[in-house]
């Protein structure tokens, strides 16, 4: 599937951007040219050789702070996505097989979760359970899990009712085997789409929380936090908020683009699309065949 996604131009762009961001998260603090916490006397300086993106209000290098801050944002969004995945997918698949009671209970729980405004809950949880981003992201993951539940349940339903699975079950195969062999393959693509979308959502939530100054203590840099403090010095550095804002937006855009690309290439329509593109590409590469000579 990865190859299919990469065959689309949108898929390539999305994967490229997300890979860069992921690398920033992993290597960022090492790549930073200077210590992100090191203050200096040159405050609010414009971009220069020593400080490509200038310095902030305490003379710290902006580029280094951006690189250092990528880790928090990326890790937090991954936390949200993975929590939502684990909390949502397993009950979603199982709800088809474990009987009506389980199904009814999980459906009602999901309805409840959807009703809770997650940013509000995240703020409340951080404040009440301790000022750490981790708790808030776990809670947000739980609140966003209905998406995974519904997606995996819908996919499982279509497969479970298909005849070859019924046949297998009649022939004596266990539910577990049926799930592993058939359901998983059908369920993965929509889950991948949901995962990509949730990463984007997680990013927005993390940025909002750090923008409000919640979850991370100063002077640890975060993209949302940098944006918030840049606002206080707009008259000195009017273009400063652009860098963190563009980074946030680019990541969210890339996640959504990836989700769309996965959706485009999955399923019957997806395979057809990829095949169609391959044929078109091949045809473009060859010269037009010479017209058949003469008629007889």
């Amino acid at each position: 599937m990865v190859r299919r996604v990469l065959s689309l131009p949108t898929g390539r762009i999305a994967v490229a951007i997300l890979t860069v961001i992921a690398l920033l998260a992993v290597l960022g603090p090492l790549l930073a040219p200077r210590d992100p916490l090191a203050t200096s006397a040159h405050t609010l300086a414009p971009g220069s050789g020593a400080h490509p993106l200038g310095t902030d209000y305490l003379g710290r290098d902006v580029l280094s702070r951006l690189l250092d801050g990528s880790r928090v944002s990326v890790l937090a969004s991954l936390e949200v996505a993975l929590t939502a995945l684990v909390v949502g997918v397993v009950p979603g698949i199982l709800s088809v097989y474990l009987g009506r009671v389980f199904e009814w209970v999980t459906l009602r729980v999901v309805d409840t979760l959807v009703a809770l405004p997650f940013l509000l809950f995240a703020v409340a949880v951080i404040a009440l359970l301790g000022n750490g981003i981790t708790q808030a992201m776990l809670v947000t993951g739980v609140l966003v899990s209905p998406l995974f539940y519904r997606v995996s349940r819908a996919a499982t339903l279509t497969v479970a009712r298909s005849q070859y699975v019924e046949a297998a079950l009649i022939a004596g195969a266990s539910v577990g085997w049926a799930v592993r062999r058939h359901v998983w393959g059908k369920v993965l693509p929509p889950i991948a789409v949901a995962l990509a979308q949730t990463v984007g959502v997680g990013f927005v939530i993390v940025s909002s929380l750090t923008f409000l100054g919640i979850g991370v203590q100063p002077p640890k840099p975060t993209w949302g936090g940098l944006l918030a403090s840049d606002l206080g010095y707009l008259s000195y550095q009017p273009w400063a908020p652009l860098a963190p804002a563009l980074l946030i937006m680019a990541t969210v855009w890339a996640s959504n683009l990836l989700a769309d690309a996965i959706r485009d290439v999955s399923g019957e329509a997806g395979r057809a699309l990829v095949a169609h593109r391959k044929v078109r590409a091949g045809r473009r590469g060859r010269t037009e065949p010479a017209p058949a000579g003469g008629t007889s």
């Binding site: 209000y57 002077p219 206080g232």
Partner: protein, 522 residues
């Protein structure tokens, strides 16, 4: 070819009359169009003097959380409380005490008793008379109420007698500071009837000041209207006040620009933006001083060497350069240079010397990075980040903790390490005792007090304010107080305000915001 019956209510079927989609759409668009038309054509007055009503829209970063003056204390929020309450005295442009509720006062020959004569015929906004009994009750309440923030400042007052309009204050010692002391910061007089229930007073203030509260949303917004019974009502030219808790430093200036507010205190970093926006940016004279507060009753500050190490690690100039944008100055005393109590002899007590600091820490037996401190502050502040980086350079690790409820543990002396900024006091002695005194509210190390401080302060109290020795004696007290291991003063940040040009200039009473004579609109 048959048409599948999947479509809904086609026009051809008379049994199901159509509900046209179009009408709903047109209805919605009609509403939107009307709204747009109304908003574009109707004239809406945003000016503060619309319809002749003069409204002050004040955004403040120190919105009071308590409206009971005894609980609120002498901090910056007294300026907002001064809208509702009046006090015995107020200050003039030189900082001297002049009459407010009291029209005159005089000391006895010895100097240990002062009598204030109140203005006749004044009432609180709930109708209770402003008489000596009310003032006596206010003073006693400030001394004895359990959650009073002021009792440490009133140690000179032994008892108070009330006789009609005469308030007779008996002192424990000769103290000429009392008229300065009983001003807006310490004795905002609340109606005794309302003060009988202090918890209610806290959210529904009743005073004899220039304005009356009409609506109070705790912590957020308060609406006031002019008090016609205020003794100086003829000089108040403002009809309504909307006091709002300022949202965020960066949004205040755009609020001023677009008419949401017409008066606000601003950060020095916003001054340039405010000026560019055509607002009136001015510095209200004052005696601000920022400090780093240490609690020497808690480790690691129980060790004098550690305290000294921190003293030598502070580079005051960095604060001035990075935080004040040309408006501030460095100071190592509880007031800026030029104030009468500033002691030039003590100007260089602990100069910046990080090497010495590291040495002291090593002598105390600490390796670099071994000391870990938690700096608890009420809101994210670049000042804290500078302290953190300066201490990191000498091997002390500081982690910043933002706690919105910071005030409670700070004034309960539970914190080990914090920051504080004072806006000064009307009485220089009160500034000194507040910071250095045994029970000073700003002394995080209570009951610690530098040796000889009590005596030095007593000497100041005994010196009349107009005596030629006064400045000398005062500075000697400052010198003694600066021995305190509990406080390291860093810099002085000015009182910076921005106002709409439609508001006239404010009286330049140092540290105060007075609305006497201020007009709004052309």
């Amino acid at each position: 070819m048959s048409i599948p019956f999947a479509s809904r209510r086609t026009a051809a079927d008379p049994r199901f009359p159509l509900r046209p989609r179009r009408t709903r759409l047109t209805a919605v668009s009609a509403v939107l169009a009307t709204a747009a038309a109304v908003s574009l054509s109707a004239c809406g007055g945003e000016s503060a003097s619309a319809g002749g009503v003069r409204t002050l829209k004040w955004a403040t970063s120190s919105f009071p959380s308590h409206w009971d003056p005894v609980v609120s204390g002498s901090g910056a929020q007294f300026r907002e409380l001064a809208l509702v309450y009046a006090s015995l005295t107020r200050t003039d442009a030189t900082g001297k005490a002049v009459p407010d509720l009291a029209q005159s006062w005089h000391y006895n020959a010895k100097g240990d008793q002062v009598t204030f004569r109140l203005r006749p015929g004044l009432k609180f906004s709930d109708g209770t008379a402003v008489d000596a009994a009310a003032v006596r009750d206010a003073i006693l309440r400030a001394k004895t109420q359990k959650d009073s923030a002021l009792f440490g400042d009133l140690t000179s007052i032994k008892s108070v007698d009330a006789d009609g309009l005469d308030v007779i204050v008996h002192l424990t010692q000769v103290d000429y500071q009392i008229p300065q002391l009983l001003g807006e910061r310490v004795l905002q007089v609340a109606s005794p009837k309302a003060a009988a229930n202090p918890k209610k007073l806290d959210q529904a203030p009743v005073g004899a000041g220039p304005f009356i509260v009409t609506q109070l949303v705790p912590g957020t917004k308060v609406l006031l209207k002019k008090n016609p019974d205020y003794w100086d009502a003829k000089d108040i030219h403002i009809d309504n006040v909307e006091l709002t808790s300022a949202p965020d430093a960066s949004t205040v200036v755009s609020g001023l620009q677009t008419g949401v507010y017409n008066f606000a205190d601003i950060e020095p970093s916003q001054a340039a933006a405010a000026k560019k926006a055509g607002l009136d940016v001015f510095v209200q004279p004052g005696f601000n001083a920022e400090n780093i507060s240490l609690n020497i009753n808690k480790a690691p500050f129980t060790d004098d060497k550690v305290v000294d190490a921190v003293r030598y690690a502070i580079n005051r100039q960095e604060f001035v350069d990075k935080l004040t944008f040309g408006y501030g100055s460095a100071t190592n005393q509880p007031f800026p240079k030029g104030y009468v109590a500033y002691d030039p002899e003590s100007a260089d007590l602990y100069p910046y010397d990080p090497a010495k600091s590291r040495q002291l820490l090593a002598q105390a037996g600490y390796k670099p990075g071994q000391i870990k401190l938690s700096l608890v502050i009420p809101a994210a502040d670049p000042q804290a980040e500078i302290v953190q980086s300066q201490l990191a350079k000498v091997g002390i690790t500081v982690s910043i903790k933002v706690d919105k409820n910071w005030a409670t543990p700070f004034f309960a002396k539970d914190l080990t390490f914090s920051l504080y900024g004072t806006t000064g006091r009307d009485s220089a002695v009160q500034t000194l005792t507040a910071h250095f005194g045994t029970d000073g509210p700003l002394n995080l190390s209570t009951p610690y007090e530098p040796a000889g401080f009590e005596a030095a302060v007593a000497k100041v109290r005994q010196t009349p304010l107009d005596s030629p020795q006064y400045p000398q004696v005062l500075r000697a007290a400052t010198r003694t107080g600066l021995q305190s291991k509990a406080l390291i003063f860093t810099y002085s940040d000015p009182n910076l305000f921005a106002k709409s040009t439609s508001i006239s200039a404010l009286p330049k009473n140092p540290g105060h915001i007075d609305w006497t004579g201020v007009t709004i609109g052309r």
